[in-house]
C-alpha cells in the first residue's frame, strides 16, 4: 500500500504541538519558580520583621530601666537606646546600614526638665526581594519592613495590705507568739517587702497597712455588704494600722529599707494577736491611702495594692461556692458581728458565716479599689507541710477536704480579678464527680459574669512556701516597673 507523503501543513501542525509542550512546560516552571521565590521572599520578610521587633522590644525595655539613672540626659538616653537596637540587629546578622531608627521620648520637653515616662522605638529596614518587587500583580511595597515598641517606666504608688494575724507566725514558738522574733512567715514577708522596695525608684511611693483583728471587732455591724457601701464611715477598723506612705525622694530606696529595719517600724509586722483576719479593712485603707495622696495622678501614675493573706475561706460544710454566687448574700442573714472565744475554738455555723462575710467584704473592697483604677495583686499563703500545729495545709480545718484550698484560690483570684485563673475550669478530685467543681465564668464569685468586674486585671499568686515571697514580690515589682505597653 502506498502512503502518500505527509503534507507540509500537517508537518507544521506536529511541530506546533511539540513546541507547545515545551512552552507549556516553561510557563509552568516559571510559575512554580515564581511562587517558590515568593515563599522565600515572605520568609525573609518575616525573618527581618522578627529581627527588628526583637531588637526594638529589647532596646525599649532596657531603655525604660535607664530613665531614672542619675544624670542621664535625653540625648544620652536616645543614643543608648539606638545603640542597643543596632547592637541587637548587628549580632543577628542584619546590617545596621540597611536600617533606620526613630527614638521618641515622652513627655516631650525641649527644656530637658520633665522626666521621661515613655520610650518609643521604631525601626525600618530595607531588603531586596527576589521576585515580589518585579511581579506585576503585586503592588504593595515589600522592600521595607518596620517594627515598633513602646516601653513605660511609671511612677508607682504601691500599698501593701499585709495579714499579720497569728497564723503568720506559725512555725516557731506558741501560736501568736513573737518569741525570739522567729515568726517564719513574717520574717520571709519582711525580706520580700524589702526586695520589692529595692526595685522602686525615687519617684515612687510606698504605703503599708497591716490588718489583723481586734477583740469584738470581727465585722462592722454597720456595713450593709451592699456593693455600694464602702464601709468607710464606721470608725471600726481599729485592727488596721497604717504604716507609711513614703515618697522615695525623701528617704531614698535604701533609706526606706533601713527604716523598715529600725525602730519603731521594725516591729510593725511583729504583732500577732490570734484572730481571724479582716483583709477588707486593709484593702480599704490602701485604697484611701493611694487615691488620697495629693501627688497621685490616676491618669499617668500606676496604683497597685498587693494583698497578702494566709487566711482561710472556712467554708467547711459547704465545700462549694454557693455562698459566693451572684448577689453574695445567701449566708448573710442574721449576720453575727463577732465571735466568742468558744465560737472561735469550736468551729460552727456562726463562725463560718463570719469568715465568709469577711471574704465577701474583702471582694467588695477590691472591686472598689479597681473602680478607682488601682490594680490589686493577691498573694495566697499556705503551708503544705502542716507546720502549723492545729491546722492543716492552707489552714483548712482539721478533717476538711482540699476543697478549701481550691475555694481560697478562687476567692483570692476574684480579689485580684485574675481572669487567667477565674476563667479556668477544674475539679477538686477528677475521680470524684461530687467533689467541688469550678467551671470558670459560670462560677464567678459575687458577680454574675466577668463584665461585672470593672477596672484593671490583677494577678493571684499562690504559694505554699513563704520563702517564695521574695521572688514573688520581685516579679510583681519588675513587671509593673518596666513594661512594654505595645
Amino acid at each position: 500500500m502506498n502512503v502518500a507523503p505527509m503534507s507540509p501543513a500537517i508537518r507544521i501542525a506536529s511541530f506546533r504541538e511539540r513546541g507547545f509542550a515545551v512552552v507549556f512546560a516553561m510557563l509552568a516552571l516559571f510559575v512554580v519558580i515564581a511562587f517558590s521565590g515568593m515563599a522565600l521572599d515572605f520568609g525573609r520578610l518575616q525573618r527581618r520583621q522578627t529581627d527588628l521587633q526583637h531588637a526594638v522590644d529589647a532596646a525599649a525595655l532596657a531603655a525604660s530601666a535607664m530613665v531614672f539613672e542619675a544624670g542621664i540626659t535625653r540625648s544620652e538616653l536616645e543614643r543608648t537606646t539606638e545603640a542597643l537596637v543596632r547592637d541587637n540587629l548587628r549580632m543577628r546578622g542584619v546590617s545596621p546600614a540597611s536600617s533606620s531608627l526613630a527614638i521618641g521620648l515622652q513627655p516631650h520637653s525641649l527644656l530637658d526638665t520633665e522626666p521621661v515616662r515613655q520610650i518609643s522605638v521604631r525601626a525600618t529596614s530595607a531588603l531586596d526581594p527576589l521576585v515580589m518587587d518585579i511581579a506585576p500583580f503585586i503592588t504593595q511595597d515589600f522592600t521595607v519592613v518596620a517594627a515598633s515598641a513602646v516601653a513605660e517606666s511609671r511612677r508607682i504608688f504601691t500599698c501593701l495590705a499585709i495579714d499579720t494575724s497569728g497564723s503568720m507566725c506559725e512555725n516557731d514558738g506558741p501560736v501568736g507568739s513573737i518569741a525570739n522574733n522567729n515568726c517564719e512567715e513574717v520574717r520571709d514577708l519582711k525580706a520580700g517587702v524589702i526586695s520589692y522596695v529595692q526595685l522602686m525608684r525615687p519617684e515612687d511611693y510606698l504605703g503599708m497597712w497591716r490588718f489583723s483583728q481586734g477583740p469584738g471587732n470581727d465585722l462592722d455591724s454597720n456595713c450593709s455588704f451592699d456593693r455600694a457601701d464602702d464601709c468607710e464611715n464606721d470608725g471600726r477598723h481599729i485592727a488596721v494600722e497604717a504604716l507609711v506612705m513614703v515618697p522615695m525622694t525623701r528617704v531614698g530606696r535604701d533609706g526606706l529599707v533601713q527604716i523598715l529595719q529600725r525602730p519603731p517600724y521594725q516591729n510593725v509586722l511583729d504583732s500577732h494577736p490570734y484572730t481571724p483576719t479582716n483583709g477588707y479593712s486593709g484593702l480599704q485603707g490602701c485604697r484611701l491611702q493611694i487615691t488620697g495622696n495629693p501627688n497621685y495622678n490616676g491618669a499617668v501614675d500606676y496604683g497597685a495594692i498587693i494583698y497578702f493573706s494566709d487566711g482561710v475561706p472556712w467554708t467547711a460544710g459547704e465545700s462549694d461556692l454557693t455562698a459566693f454566687s451572684p448577689g453574695c448574700s445567701v449566708e448573710l442573714d442574721n449576720y453575727p458581728t463577732s465571735l466568742t472565744a468558744a465560737q472561735r475554738s469550736n468551729y460552727d455555723d456562726i463562725a463560718r458565716k463570719v469568715h465568709m462575710g469577711r471574704w465577701i467584704n474583702t471582694i467588695n473592697q477590691a472591686d472598689l479599689a479597681r473602680n478607682s483604677g488601682l490594680t490589686v495583686y493577691a498573694i495566697a499563703l499556705g503551708d503544705p507541710n502542716a507546720k502549723y500545729p492545729r491546722l492543716d495545709a492552707f489552714q483548712g480545718l482539721p478533717g476538711t477536704s482540699s476543697s478549701e484550698t481550691l475555694v481560697k484560690d478562687i476567692l483570692m483570684a476574684r480579689i485580684a480579678n485574675d481572669q487567667v485563673f477565674l476563667q479556668k475550669e477544674f475539679q477538686e478530685d477528677t475521680n470524684d464527680p461530687n467533689s467541688l467543681r469550678y467551671s470558670g465564668a459560670a462560677n464567678f464569685p459575687c458577680v454574675p459574669d466577668r463584665d461585672s468586674i470593672r477596672g484593671p486585671e490583677g494577678k493571684m499568686v499562690q504559694t505554699a512556701d513563704s520563702g517564695d515571697l521574695r521572688q514573688i514580690l520581685r516579679d510583681i515589682g519588675l513587671s509593673i516597673k518596666a513594661k512594654l505597653v505595645r
Partner: protein, 191 residues
C-alpha cells in the same frame, strides 16, 4: 476498502506523533520533575528552617527578658550576677531543655568596671557556654573594644548588660538537601 488520503494521513500521523509525544513527555518529566520536587521540598524545608529560627529567636528574647528583669534592673539589691543568672537558669532551664533538647543556651552578664568590662556571670547548657560568641574568661576587655566588637550601648548609663545566645544545629530533614549541609541557627538578644 481504501482509506481516504486525509484519514490515512491522520491515522499515521497520530500514531507517529503519539509515539513522539510519549518520548517528549518522559524527557520533559525527567527535566521538570526534579526541579519541581526541588522547589517543593525546598520551600517546605525553608519553612521548617524559618520556624525553628522563630522558635529560637523567641526563646532568646524571653530568656533575655527574664534575665534582664532579674539581673539588670535592680541596681542596688543584686550584687552577685552569677547567682542571679543561676537562679534564672534554674527557673527556666528545665523547661527549655525538656522541650528543646537540641538547643544550646548561654546567658552572660557583663558589667562596666571603670574602664573595663567584666564577664560577671554565665549560665546555661555546657554546649552553649562553650560556643558563646561573646567574650568569656576572666580577663576583662577594655570598654572601647567591648563597645566596638560587641555592645556599643555599654557606657556610663548602661553599665550592665545581659546577653542570651541560643544555638541549634538544624538538621535538614530532607535527604534531597543534604548537599547544603546542616546549618547552625544562632539567635541572640542583648538587654
Amino acid at each position: 476498502m481504501c482509506q481516504s488520503r486525509r484519514e490515512l494521513t491522520v491515522n499515521l500521523l497520530g500514531k507517529n506523533l503519539l509515539g513522539k509525544e510519549q518520548g517528549v513527555a518522559f524527557v520533559e518529566l525527567a527535566i521538570i520533575f526534579p526541579i519541581v520536587l526541588f522547589l517543593f521540598f525546598g520551600t517546605f524545608e525553608y519553612g521548617l528552617y524559618l520556624q525553628t529560627r522563630e522558635k529560637n529567636a523567641s526563646l532568646s528574647k524571653q530568656l533575655g527578658n527574664a534575665a534582664f528583669r532579674d539581673c539588670v534592673i535592680p541596681p542596688a539589691g543584686q550584687t552577685n550576677d552569677q547567682t542571679c543568672l543561676d537562679d534564672v537558669w534554674a527557673e527556666f532551664g528545665g523547661f527549655v531543655t525538656s522541650n528543646s533538647p537540641d538547643v544550646e543556651v548561654v546567658l552572660s552578664a557583663y558589667r562596666l568596671n571603670g574602664g573595663t568590662v567584666d564577664l560577671r556571670g554565665r549560665a546555661g547548657t555546657p554546649g552553649g557556654v562553650a560556643n558563646s560568641r561573646f567574650p568569656g574568661g576572666s580577663n576583662p576587655l577594655s570598654l572601647a573594644i567591648f563597645r566596638r566588637d560587641y555592645v556599643s550601648a555599654m557606657g556610663p548609663f548602661k553599665q550592665r548588660v545581659v546577653v542570651v545566645e541560643v544555638f541549634e544545629r538544624y538538621d535538614v530533614r530532607d535527604a534531597f538537601f543534604n548537599v547544603f549541609g546542616n546549618q547552625t541557627i544562632y539567635e541572640v538578644t542583648i538587654y
